[in-house]
Symmetry: C2
Subunit: 133 residues, 2 copies
DNA sequence: CTGGACCTACTACATATCTAGTATATACTA
DNA sequence: TAGTATATACTAGATATGTAGTAGGTCCAG
């Protein structure tokens, strides 16, 4: 049953599903984050493959099947990021963050939000020190 | 000349080269971040392909060729992370960070370092507000 | 009830990725 | 210098990925 790792394209499909909730193939096709225009059947094929892999499921509807992601964002991306940090950043999350912030246009608002995330992680870290399972 | 995107395996090779500096095929093979054991010629083939793509270069040495990355870590990874954030995290760097911290065993030391990175980004952000080119 | 619009299932195929073998050159060792 | 260890170049093939076409079903407008 081990959920397989999504490819680039599959990740985009999941991204759409996570952002907008259960969607039809058509809706996904139109919302692909890279603007690239692909044939309808291309997206359909990919999503059918994803279903075989267990990445998505679907419910037959009147008009068209409605697909949904079977795992939450973090469940899929945490392992991927963990590997990325290990493989490409020599295991340093700080270095990864630096890359994440650098270059990409992170606005001031985002930075505040990011700081909030850090604070939260810090709190959990400190609590964890006490160590309840 | 447009440097192509490295694959998973290629990224690992680059990771080794960035972490340890110019290295032989043998050295890379032994330092691959995922512990997986591969034939010597497997790594060799991959690195030869990377040279064709312009991801690495090499200097013939007495014993064995010494390979080096042709681009710095950030040059390769920033675009990759930018795409990842857009494609999988709905464009939210904060969400990506949350994933980065969650699950992966980020120690307290790392957290401090991370905070330092954030502060720096903040400083640059604020300075940028004033707006010297 | 018929023609178009739209949907899914299935098939096909080019390219990339990962893997490793074979052949051959080179260098150190005894 | 003969033999072994090690390196590279080249080749090969299995699997994954991205792409799209064709066939056939369903539903609604006229």
């Amino acid at each position: 049953m081990a959920k397989q790792r999504p490819s680039e394209l599959e990740l985009q499909v999941l991204g759409v599903l996570w952002d907008r909730g259960p969607s039809t193939v058509r809706a996904v096709r139109e919302a692909m984050p890279d603007g690239k225009d692909r044939a309808y059947t291309t997206i359909l094929s990919v999503m059918q493959g994803m279903e075989r892999k267990g990445l998505v499921g679907h419910t037959p509807q009147r008009q068209a099947h409605v697909y949904h992601a079977t795992a939450r964002r973090e469940q899929v991306l945490e392992p991927m990021l963990r590997d990325l940090v290990r493989n490409a950043f020599g295991g340093s999350a700080a270095r990864a963050l630096q890359c994440l912030l650098g270059g990409s246009g992170v606005g001031a608002g985002e930075l505040d939000e990011i700081r909030r995330v850090i604070d939260e992680a810090d709190r959990e870290q400190t609590e964890g020190q006490g160590g309840q399972p």
